[in-house]
């Protein structure tokens, strides 16, 4: 006897999986827009004066503005907070190649950050040097406790010291 539609359960299973997939992808869209809400462009721009070698002991910058460092060279970004409205809640953060936050300041109103114009990259606990790879520095505007707009961005490459 020939069974009727022996493939039908498999076909229905694939259709069900397709619907489940659409639900997952839709949840992904909600996730995306929750952290990247549309219509957040204020037109404001933060001024990153540069990224320089940094002396952790003295807290001073040296050398020219650079996009490349070696892992054993401490470095920091310098931000001109006066380029932003004083009441705008902002923060600055460094991310290393693994996506880990390795330094930052804020969030706080831009007017309160004038004492923190130098934002160094911190060596991760247990490490002797910075992790080699791409680093991203961002100045972000905050709203309701989360970053919603990037006001300035600098990319830096750190190569291995060995």
């Amino acid at each position: 006897m020939i069974p009727r539609d022996e493939i039908r359960p498999l076909y229905l299973a694939m259709l069900t999986l397709g619907v489940l997939a659409l639900v997952i992808l839709a949840a992904g869209l909600i996730d995306f827009f929750a952290f990247e809400p549309p219509g957040q462009n204020t037109g404001a721009h933060a001024t990153v004066i540069g990224v320089y070698r940094y002396d952790p002991g003295g807290g001073r910058l040296s050398g020219p503005d650079s996009q490349r460092f070696t892992a054993d060279q401490p470095f920091a970004a310098e931000v001109d907070w006066t380029s932003l409205p004083l009441t705008m809640v902002v923060a600055a953060r460094w991310f290393n190649t693994l996506g880990t936050t390795v330094g930052g300041v804020g969030p706080a109103p831009a007017g309160q950050l004038s004492e923190h114009s130098i934002i160094p990259v911190k060596i991760p606990p247990g490490f002797r040097h910075n992790v080699p790879g791409d680093y991203t520095f961002v100045v972000e505007r905050y709203q309701n406790g989360q970053p919603v707009e990037v006001l300035a961005r600098r990319l830096v490459y750190v190569r291995s010291a060995v």
Partner: protein, 449 residues
């Protein structure tokens, strides 16, 4: 006509045109990828000689065979052109391997070599296990290895620029954090699953005599995924080594990557995702209407993309814990986040094997009832049970040696091919007439005599 085919071939069915068009698009994409690579990499050191020069030699050989084919009898021509195409395909694979080597190994070819050697046994074990899942009619090694090679070499070459470009766009436009992770996860899920799934789609379009149902789709898909995972493991191990070498624990960090990608995640991750694509294509293989086939293929592809997306985007939200519990947490994360999708693959496989097993039993009984002699009624019980088939072969091996073992293995395979052929004909999934079935029957009788 192919004697052991699941259906007879007469002329070139329309799906070949689709396959040729897809292959053409792929070659253009790969050419562009190679071109951009050459611009980025600049100087070309000695590693090219290892694979690049043999690739050039193979292109020469393929051209020679191809040109000579036109001097031959038309009946012979096709065979020679096929040979030329195979040699050209091997040349293309070698060239892509050059591209991958430069892109994935960076300045640490020795670390990459050690990583590759470490990943070989685990990947080989994975391929062996996956192929054995197809209990009734194992796929030929040549096609299984084509699937693995596609995943390792072609798919990785296809996605590298898409992923890199998307990462650049994200890094320059989005707010770092979960939103950016979701964006890049969409890209990785979409591009990687398309690049890997194309292999299964091409096998479905071109090698339909070796692509019978959902079980075959899962096997081919998982093998593509294992190949991709192999190359990606080398990439991550080399990358992680470079990051942590300066701190003195590069080897340990690379070892941890190996463990999570080649041991814990061997059958999860890429193997599971592409198996889902293969399942959709495998189900489509047996559906009568084009709209149903397209829906089944879309369902498989979408669930693979979404599974891949979910892992990449939401991995960070899984609470791993601290201290000793972190060790358990990272294992639980793989099991709980990818495990359900792997369970779905196993469920589809079980359903496929059940349908296939019942169909083969029915067809073997019907064939036995015809009295053709190709299948005796007493053989039905043995042929439908993999364990009893193996027992019968071992019995013959003990009594009459290896030659008899091989002959029985060929006979069992030919009998199952005949049953599979009958099943496809019963379901009207054939594009040709009955001669192929008769040829298979004669082949079985010849093996019996």
């Amino acid at each position: 006509m192919i004697a052991n085919a699941a259906y007879a071939r007469h002329g070139r069915p329309p799906r070949y045109r689709l396959a040729i068009a897809l292959a053409g698009v792929l070659v253009i994409l790969l050419f562009l990828s190679s071109f951009v690579t050459s611009l980025v990499l600049g100087t070309i050191p000695g590693r090219v000689a290892l694979f690049g020069l043999p690739a050039i030699a193979l292109v020469g050989v393929a051209t020679w065979i191809g040109v000579r084919a036109f001097d031959r009898d038309p009946a012979e021509r096709r065979r020679h052109l096929l040979r030329a195409a195979i040699v050209l395909g091997i040349a293309l694979l070698l060239w892509l391997l050059v591209v991958d080597l430069f892109l994935f190994t960076g300045d640490a070819p020795l670390v990459a070599l050690i990583s590759a050697l470490a990943c070989l046994p685990t990947t080989a074990f994975g391929i062996w296990v996956v192929r054995r899942l197809d209990r009734n009619e194992k796929e030929p090694w040549r096609l299984v290895m084509v699937a693995v090679a596609w995943g390792a070499v072609v798919a990785t070459a296809l996605v590298i620029w898409a992923n890199t470009s998307l990462g650049e766009v994200a890094a320059n436009t989005l707010v770092p954090g979960p939103g950016m992770d979701a964006f890049t996860a969409y890209g990785a899920g979409f591009f990687e699953e398309i690049a890997k799934g194309l292999a299964v789609l091409l096998l479905y379009l071109v090698m339909r005599d070796e692509f019978d149902d959902v079980v075959d789709g899962i096997v081919y898909g998982a093998c593509v995924g294992l190949g991709f995972n192999f190359m990606e493991s080398i990439l991550y191990m080399t990358h992680i080594y470079a990051i942590f070498a300066g701190e003195g624990f590069g080897a340990e960090a690379a070892g941890i990557q190996w463990y999570f990608r080649q041991v814990v995640g061997l059958f999860f991750g890429h193997a599971t995702y592409t198996a889902l694509v293969g399942a959709g294509i495998g189900v489509a293989r047996q559906l009568p209407r084009l709209s149903q086939r397209l829906l089944a293929i879309a369902g498989g592809w979408l669930i693979a993309i979404s599974a891949h997306f979910a892992w990449d985007a939401w991995l960070q939200f899984f609470p791993v814990g601290d201290g000793a519990f972190a060790l358990i947490g990272v294992h639980l994360r793989t099991i709980l986040m990818d495990g359900p999708f792997t369970a779905v693959v196993l469920l589809l496989l079980a359903m496929g094997l059940q349908v296939e097993g019942a169909a083969l039993r029915r067809q073997l009984q019907l064939e036995a009832a015809t009295g053709s002699g190709a299948i005796a009624p007493a053989e039905v019980g043995v042929l439908t049970n993999p364990w009893r088939r193996w027992q019968a072969r071992m019995q013959v091996l003990t009594l009459s040696g290896l030659g008899a073992y091989r002959r029985l293995a060929h006979l069992q395979q030919a009998q199952l091919n005949l049953a599979m052929e009958r099943w496809h004909r019963e379901r009207r999934e054939l594009e040709g007439p009955l001669e192929a079935e008769e040829l298979l029957r004669r082949q079985v009788l010849a093996l019996k005599s």
